[in-house]
C-alpha cells in the first residue's frame, strides 16, 4: 500500500546570516528525487512554511548574485514554486514587518511556474504542524 508522508519545513531564521533557510529550500526541493530511495508508490510531500524572522527570506528583488555571487533565497523560493511545492508565508509576521503581497515572492511566473505562494495565518501553519508526520525546523 502506498504511503505518503508529509514533511513540514518550518523556516524561522532570516536569510544569508546562517545557512539555515538555504538548506531548508534545497532539502525540500530534493523531495523531487526521493522516490529512488523509497518503495514503489511511497513518497514524501514537503510543505515549506516561513514564520517569524523567516518571512524575511520572502522579500522580492534580492540581489545576492550581483553583490556576492551567490544564489539568492528568492531564486530558491521560485524554484520551489516552479516544482509545485506548497509554500506558505505567515500572515501575522508579514503584517508585523509591514510586508504585503506586493513585496514578497508570490509566484514564479517569470520562469514558467504555475504555483502561487500562500499567505496564511499562524493558526493554519499550526494546522500544518498537526498534519505533518515530521517537522524540520530551520
Amino acid at each position: 500500500m502506498a504511503t505518503i508522508k508529509k514533511l513540514l519545513f518550518l523556516v524561522d531564521k532570516p536569510p544569508y546570516k546562517s545557512e539555515n533557510s538555504r538548506l531548508a529550500l534545497t532539502h525540500a526541493i530534493a523531495s523531487q528525487t526521493v522516490e529512488i530511495h523509497l518503495e514503489d508508490e511511497d513518497n514524501v510531500e514537503p510543505v515549506l512554511a516561513f514564520v517569524g524572522d523567516g518571512v524575511l527570506n520572502c522579500i522580492k528583488g534580492q540581489k545576492a548574485l550581483d553583490a556576492y555571487g551567490i544564489t539568492s533565497l528568492e531564486a530558491h523560493i521560485k524554484n520551489a514554486l516552479l516544482l509545485d511545492l506548497k509554500v506558505i508565508f505567515c500572515k501575522e509576521d508579514l503584517d508585523k514587518f509591514g510586508l504585503t503581497e506586493d513585496n514578497v515572492i508570490m509566484d514564479a511566473e517569470d520562469i514558467g511556474g504555475d504555483m502561487i505562494a500562500n499567505i496564511l495565518p499562524f493558526a493554519d501553519i499550526l494546522g500544518e504542524m498537526e498534519a505533518a508526520d515530521h517537522i524540520l525546523h530551520f
Partner: protein, 98 residues
C-alpha cells in the same frame, strides 16, 4: 499533537514557541537552554517555565555549566541521555529544535 520542543539557547523569547498551542507540549532544555531552569534574572523565573508544558533539562548540559541538578526549578524534570531517549520515543511524536 504530542510535540517536544528542544530549547538550546538562552534567549528571552521565540515568537514561534510563544504561539504554539497543543495539548501535549514538552520543552526539553539542552545546551545553553538549561540556564532557563537555573537562573533567575533580577529574581524572576524564565518565561519558559510558565508555559503550559512539561519541562525537562539534560543533566550532562546542566553539570557542564557548573549548575547543580538539585537546585533547578521544581517544575523541571532532570534527565540524562538515557532518560531522554525514553522521553523521545514514549512521550512525544514530533520535535522542533529552536
Amino acid at each position: 499533537m504530542k510535540l517536544g520542543v528542544f530549547v538550546n539557547q538562552y534567549t528571552k523569547t521565540n515568537s514561534t514557541l510563544d504561539r504554539i498551542k497543543t495539548d501535549n507540549l514538552g520543552i526539553i532544555l539542552v545546551q545553553n537552554g538549561v540556564y532557563h531552569a537555573a537562573l533567575k534574572e533580577n529574581g524572576k523565573d524564565s518565561d519558559i517555565l510558565s508555559k503550559a508544558a512539561k519541562v525537562y533539562a539534560l543533566s550532562e548540559d546542566v553539570i557542564s555549566r557548573g549548575l547543580s541538578p538539585d537546585k533547578l526549578d521544581k517544575k523541571v524534570t532532570v534527565v540524562d541521555y538515557n532518560g531522554l531517549v525514553d522521553v523521545i520515543f514514549n512521550d512525544y511524536e514530533k520535535f522542533i529544535w529552536l
